[in-house]
Every structure is written in C-alpha cells, then in structure tokens.
C-alpha cells in the first residue's frame, strides 16, 4: 500500500488527496469538466444525504461545512479519478444464498471463519489482559462473532488473526484470512484490491496530542512537530499529501504504537481515525483529540477477497440485520464506544452499487 495515493469520497463532497500526482489515467482536457461535474454530483449527493443519513455525531457534520473545508484545504484534488470512483462505500446488494466462497469455508476440516482483526485497538479489537486468557473483545470482535453466527451457525466458529495495519490487504489477497474486520476504511485505492461490505461505521482522521500541547488540529500548528501514524493507514496517506511542515517520518505497525512514542516524547502528535484516537485518549487522560471534528469523513467496512461476491452479499445481509437488531449495532456501540465517543444517531445507511 506504499503508494501515496488515495481518494476519499464523502457524502458531502469529494476530496482527494494528492491524486494529482498520478495523472496516469487523467485526460488533461477532461479534467476541468470532470471536476465540475463531480462537484455538482457531490453537492447533489450531499444534499440528499444530509436529509437521509442519520448523523453519527452532532459535531461531525459531513455536509457542506466539511465539504468546503476539505475543498479549501485540499485544492489539489484531481477530479479526473472522481469519475470512476464515486462513493467507494457502495457495495453489493445483500443476499442469503451461499456461493462458492462460503461453500469452501464450510467444507474446511476446521469449520471456522478466519477473520483478520486488531488486538491493539481499544474498544474495537483488543485483549484485556485481566479477562479470560487471550480473549479478544471490542466492537469489531462483536461484529466478527455476529458474522460467524449467521454464516456458520456458531458465534465462536472464528479464528482471529491479528494483522498489522499495512498487512490488511495482502492478508486478504493471499487468502491468509477470509475477511478483515479491523477498523478498515473503505476508499478508492483499496477497492481496487479488495471488496468491501457496506459501511458499518463512520469516522474520520483527527489529530491527537497532549492537552498541554500548542497543536490545535490538522493545521499550521503542526509545523516542525513530529507526527506519528500507522504504516499503510489512511492517516499516513493524508499526512504524505499534506503535512503542514511536520516531520512525518515516524510510522509504526499499529496506531497504538504511536501512543507509546507520544508518551515517551519521541513524537509530538498522532494522526489516526477519530474512533481509534478516542480509544487512545481513553488510555491516557493527558492526551486529547485536537480540532473540533475529524478533518475527513470515512467509513469502516468489512474487507473480503475481490471476487468473493457471494461472501460480500452474505456479509451485507448480516450487516443489515446487525444495524436493525437492537442487540446488534446499538448494543455493541453502547457497550464499547458510547463512553469515549458519546451518543450516536445510529449506523450509516447502506449504499449499493447494483
């Protein structure tokens, strides 16, 4: 995932980081028009979504405010690619039929779903050393159990594989895991390599720094500061595109390793998903999220092998239930995230491309 390219699309506008550096597909002549067209489309979408989408958090308005914000900041957005990658969080319509991928899983000697998770993301996927030996828990873990139950009829028919941030895509491609449920942002870059389910959570990048720090957010206050991010994360990509003069050489296998560096004074700030940053702040009361809201809007999705359509549809079906079920999304949110993230209006609505 080494490339410094990504593109994020949000309901309220299109933002692309540094795609301009990759003009390979861009037809210069079409660029301007494509940009206009995409912005127009994006505005339309935003209007629609403001009405339709329940807001996850009051302070995180992905609408025009965030959109113009992003547009101001990221003027280098290359609209040429917006044509082919609009709203990457759109997935395949749900279905309950088992296809070849699911059959293969069911025919395993050990009939278990192999799921790539994290064991370092507080409240998402982590190991509480004081509870049962080696037990993983968190929002993502709940979801993985849910999928296993619906697919294989047993909540515990899961083998958890902890994978580092930059191995999420390779782990799926090599078949090391059946799916990745690991706070993984759906974006245009990644949908080229893997298939995603519908979005199950909305988040965005945010800066985390000590309370006493003079850093105010993802802005000029980062100048000359050492900023840490996880290798292969959207945070790393964002920083590579615009660092505000910060030293961004420190990259680590996991976002939590950034908090270690921060506590040891090796870096001055951390950039990561706000959902994860909140988990870091929960582990260290001397740090806080900087800036009013995340400076991007992203969606988490379950990643699967690119051609595993049957599995994607099946997982989308599970997610549909998960969103509606009162023991599902809402219960998990209240259990794991409400303390750190506050009240939620509910999960993001699924979007489909077919």
């Amino acid at each position: 995932m080494g490339g410094a390219r990504t593109m994020r699309t949000r309901p309220g506008g299109t933002e692309q980081h540094g795609a301009g550096a990759h003009p390979r597909r861009g037809l210069a002549a079409l660029r301007g028009w494509g940009g206009v067209a995409s912005m127009a489309l994006a505005c339309l979408l935003a209007t629609a979504l403001i009405l339709a989408l329940p807001q996850l958090r009051g302070d995180n308005d992905p609408g025009k405010d965030g959109g113009s914000d992003a547009a101001d900041r990221l003027t280098q957005a290359a609209p040429a690619r917006a044509d082919e990658c609009q709203a990457p969080e759109r997935s395949l319509r749900p279905a309950t039929k088992d296809g070849p991928t699911i059959e293969k899983i069911k025919q395993r000697k050990v009939k278990k779903l192999v799921v790539g998770v994290d064991q370092n993301s507080y409240r998402w996927g982590y190991r509480d050393p004081n509870k049962g030996v080696g037990k993983l828990e968190g929002f993502d873990i709940d979801l993985a159990h849910e999928i296993a139950e619906k697919l294989l009829g047993d909540r515990d028919a899961v083998v958890f594989r902890a994978i580092p941030t930059n191995q999420r895509v390779p782990a799926i491609q090599s078949g090391q895991v059946d799916m990745v449920v690991r706070t993984m942002t759906v974006n245009c870059d990644r949908i080229k390599d893997v298939a995603f389910s519908t979005a199950y959570f909305e988040t965005g990048q945010q800066v985390l720094a000590p309370k006493t720090s003079d850093i105010t957010g993802y802005d000029d206050s980062l100048k000359g500061k050492k900023v840490c991010s996880a290798a292969g994360s959207t945070a790393e990509t964002a920083l590579k595109e615009k660092s505000f003069g910060a030293d961004i050489r420190t990259t680590v296998p996991n976002q939590l390793d950034c908090l270690v560096r921060l506590q040891l004074g090796e870096v001055d700030a951390v950039v990561t998903d706000s959902a994860l940053a909140a988990g870091q702040a929960a582990q260290d009361p001397t740090v806080e999220l900087k800036g009013d809201k995340p400076f991007t809007t992203e969606y988490y999705g379950v990643a699967m092998k690119k051609d595993a359509d049957d599995l994607v549809r099946r997982v989308n079906d599970v997610l549909d239930d998960f969103r509606k079920d009162k023991d599902g999304w809402r219960a998990s949110y209240d259990r794991w995230l409400a303390d750190d993230l506050g009240d939620s209006a509910g999960p993001p609505k699924p979007k489909y491309k077919d």
């Binding site: 004081n130 080696g134 270690v260």
Partner: protein, 483 residues
C-alpha cells in the same frame, strides 16, 4: 705454580686462535707483544685490559665473564619469556575466560529477561510470581555483570562501546517493561504496545550489542591463549648457546690441563641444563594444559553458550508468536508466514539441526563432550528439544484451528497440559549442567597448565645466578693457579 699449564698454550695457540665470543681481531695481533714494565696506575689498568686479551689469565677472565654473562642472559630471557607466558596463562584462567563467560551471561540474561517478560504478558494482567522473579534475577545478573565488564573493558574500545551502550539501554528497557506492566494491569492494550517496543529495543539494539561484547571478549581470550602458548624460542636459544659455551670452555680446559672436570663449570652446566629442561618441560606441560583447556573447555563452552542462546531466542519467539497473534509476517519464498514462528524455526534448526545428518549446536556439543558427565546433560538437552518440537507442533495446530486458549495452555500452561515451557525449562537446566561441567573442565586444565609454569621464572633466575656464580668460581679456580 706460575707456569705448569702455561706451556701448552704456546703450542696449540695457533690451532684455535679465535675465541668464540671474544672479538677475534683484537685477540690476534697483540698476542706476541710482551708485557711491558709496570708504570702508573692508569697505564697499568690499560695494560691489564690489553693483557687480558693476550695472556691466559686474561683469556680465562674473559671466558669466565662471557660464560657468566651468557648464563645470566639465558636466565633473564627465560624469566622474562616465561613470566609473560605465565601472565597470559593467568589472564586466560582468571581474567579473559571469566570475562568471556560474563559476556555470555549478559547475553543470556538479557535474552532470558525478554523471554520472561513476554511469558508474563501472555499470562495476563497479573504475571506469575515465578516469572517476575526470573525476570528480576536476569536483570540483576545482567547489570552486575555489566559492571564487571565495564571495569575490565579497559583499553578495548569495542568492548567499552558495547558495555556503555548496554548500560544506557538497560534502564530504558526496564522502564518500558514497567510501563507495559502498569498498563497491562489496568487492562489496557497499551501494555502490549509497550511490550512490543521493549522487545524491539531488546532484539534490535541490546542483543546485538551483547553479542558484540561476547565476541570481543572471546577474541581477547583467543589473544591471551595466543600469548600463553608459543614456545619461548629466544630463551631456548640462549640456553643452548650458554650450554654450548660452557661445554666449549670445559673442553678447552681439558685440552689445556688434562683435567676432566672443573667443579664450578660442571655445576654451572648442570644449573643451565636444569633450567633449560625445566623451561622445555614446564612450557610443554603448560601448553598441553592450555590446549586441553581450550579443546575440552572453551570450545565446548562456546558451543554450549550458543546453544543456550538459541534455545532462549527460540522460546522468546515462541511466546511472541502468541503475543502478536500473527500481527507481524514475513515473506518466505511465496508464502507469508508469521515472523516469530519463522524466527523460532530458525533458532530450533540452529539448536538441533534442520535436516538429517545436521545435528546442530547440540550435535557439535555432543561431539565435543569428552566424558560421560559431559555427554549426559547434552543428550538430555537433545531429548528435551525433540519433545519441545513435538509439543510446539501440537500448540501450533491448536492455534491454527482457532483454539487460542488451547495453544496458550500448550505453551505456558500447567504441567498437566504438557506445555513447551516445561521442555524449554528442561533444555535450559540440562545446558546449565553441561556448561558448569565444561567450566570445571576448563578450569582444571587451565590451572594445570598455569601450574606447570609456576616457579619457572623465579627458578630460572635463581638457577642462572647459581650457574653464573659457579662458572665464575670454576674459572676463578683455574685463574688462581696463576697466582
């Protein structure tokens, strides 16, 4: 009394004009010149010197002086060369080998502390007391040995650099572990992140420095062996020359006086011969003792230390496989594999060999073990390594099938679960016994070697003084015949 022995020299004088060590040129010309009448004291002194070269008493005096000097030089060179060798042997026994042992202990303690820390983490928020004690003991030993190493590193720049680096990193490492523990106790995953950072510090910075120190100390040991073992050729050469000169002097004496023995010269010859024999025998014994201490001790110790470090690394990696749960992978050929399991396999292959015919470090240790009490613990270690590998396989199978708890039980669980930890502890204990045995072997042989040189420098000096005195007396006896 004035003449008798003086007549013959006139006749054979031309037959052997050059004295072996006296300058021949000065001896030749003034021989015919008659002794002038006595004059001033100054002139007399000069004349005497001249006469010394021309008259028999003079020659005798010169011969006596040369013999005494040769014997004394032989003694001095022997004392010097054997002292330097005895010193080197002493350094081998009391300094460089213990230091190399200490360096190995530092390396081992650090690796063991890291392994204990990861075991403690695997066990949960409250690590078992035994594991904590083990960690503490390792850290204590490492810092204690580092202090010794620091005071002994002396002028060796590379050792000193490694020691100071380790001295700097050790408190950092323990601080990271303490933070990991504190967070772990609160149930925060941050503890695991600190543990990974600590492990990284250990693996990429501390263990390489410790290995460097170990290698530098081993080199120093090899150098000291190199200083202790070479034959003292110079001393031997002087000994042979002194003996030859003494023999020649006695032969000359016999030719001129028909007396077979001159007690003084015989005594001097005996003293010199005894010193030379002592030198040869003492050094040969010392050498064989040192060789034995190297072949039976140091070689085995090196292999066993390597084996122990490999087993520690393998254990640490086995733990980390479960700590990281596949979080870090490496590409082996086309396959993505767990980084720590790959490292475990590599260390096990080093330890016990990867394929048929390759017995690994334990195989080499078994070859080097030269008696039953050395072979027994090595065989026990090999047996336990086999068991460890089998158990590891079963633990991996559990983990791969999703039974993480089962895998954990098979690695750090109670005895009833037949954990790999038990096999590892057995391997470690067996290697400890083997190391202690080889250390004793080394010590015994090196002490024998060093003992063979005991008294040699002083003895050689005393014998040389006695020999020189005897030579002077012997010549003096002849000389007195002219008074």
């Amino acid at each position: 009394m004035t003449h008798p022995p003086q007549a013959p020299p006139q006749v054979p004088a031309p037959s052997h004009p050059p004295l072996p060590t006296q300058a021949a040129a000065t001896a030749k010309a003034p021989r015919q010149a008659p002794t002038p009448a006595r004059s001033t004291a100054w002139a007399e002194g000069v004349d005497r010197l001249r006469a010394a070269a021309t008259t028999e008493p003079g020659r005798l005096r010169a011969i006596g002086a040369v013999l005494a000097a040769l014997v004394l030089v032989f003694g001095a060179v022997t004392a010097w060369q054997t002292t330097s060798r005895a010193d080197a042997a002493d350094r081998v026994l009391n300094r460089s080998q213990p230091l190399s042992n200490d360096a190995a202990a530092i390396y081992r303690s650090l690796a063991d502390a890291n392994t204990a820390a990861s075991s403690g983490f695997l066990a949960g928020g409250q690590e078992p007391a035994k594991v904590r004690e083990r960690y503490q003991r390792d850290i204590d030993r490492a810092s204690e040995k580092l202090a010794t190493a620091a005071s002994n590193a002396g002028s060796d720049a590379s050792s000193a650099a490694s020691v100071s680096q380790l001295n700097k990193l050790l408190p950092q490492y323990t601080a990271l572990i303490e933070r990991a523990r504190a967070n772990n106790r609160q149930g925060l995953p941050l503890g695991g992140a600190y543990l990974r950072y600590a492990n990284d510090t250990m693996q990429t910075r501390m263990l390489p420095a410790a290995e460097k120190l170990y290698k530098a100390e081993n080199e120093r040991l090899t150098d000291d062996y190199g200083d202790a073992k070479p034959y003292p050729w110079l001393a031997i050469a002087f000994g042979v020359v002194a003996l030859a000169a003494l023999g020649w002097a006695q032969h000359r004496n016999y030719r001129r006086t028909n007396r077979v023995f001159n007690t003084g010269l015989v005594a001097a010859t005996t003293a010199a011969a005894v010193a030379l024999l002592w030198l040869l025998a003492g050094h040969t014994f010392a050498r064989s003792g040192l060789n034995e201490s190297y072949d039976r001790g140091v070689k085995s110790l090196n292999v066993l230390n390597d084996a122990r470090i490999s087993s520690l690394k393998a254990r640490g990696n086995e733990n980390l496989t479960l700590v990281s749960r596949g979080a870090e992978t490496v590409l082996v050929g086309d396959a993505t594999k767990d980084k720590f399991d790959v490292a475990y396999q590599r260390q096990m292959a080093r330890l016990a060999g990867a394929k048929a015919g390759d017995e690994g470090l334990l195989g080499r240790a078994a070859e080097l073990a030269d008696d039953a009490s050395g072979e027994r613990p090595v065989a026990a270690a090999a047996k336990n390594v086999t068991e460890w590998k089998d158990r590891h396989k079963s633990a991996r199978a559990s983990d791969d099938s999703g039974d993480y708890e089962g895998a954990l039980d098979k690695v750090i669980g109670a005895k009833s679960a037949e954990p790999t930890g038990e096999s590892f502890d057995n391997v470690d204990a067996a290697l400890d016994v083997a190391l202690a045995h080889e250390q004793r072997e080394f010590k015994r042989a090196a002490e024998d070697g060093k003992g063979a040189m005991t008294g040699l420098p002083v003895g050689a000096a005393v014998l040389a003084v006695v020999g020189a005195a005897a030579a002077v007396l012997g010549i003096g006896r002849r000389l007195s015949e002219y008074r």
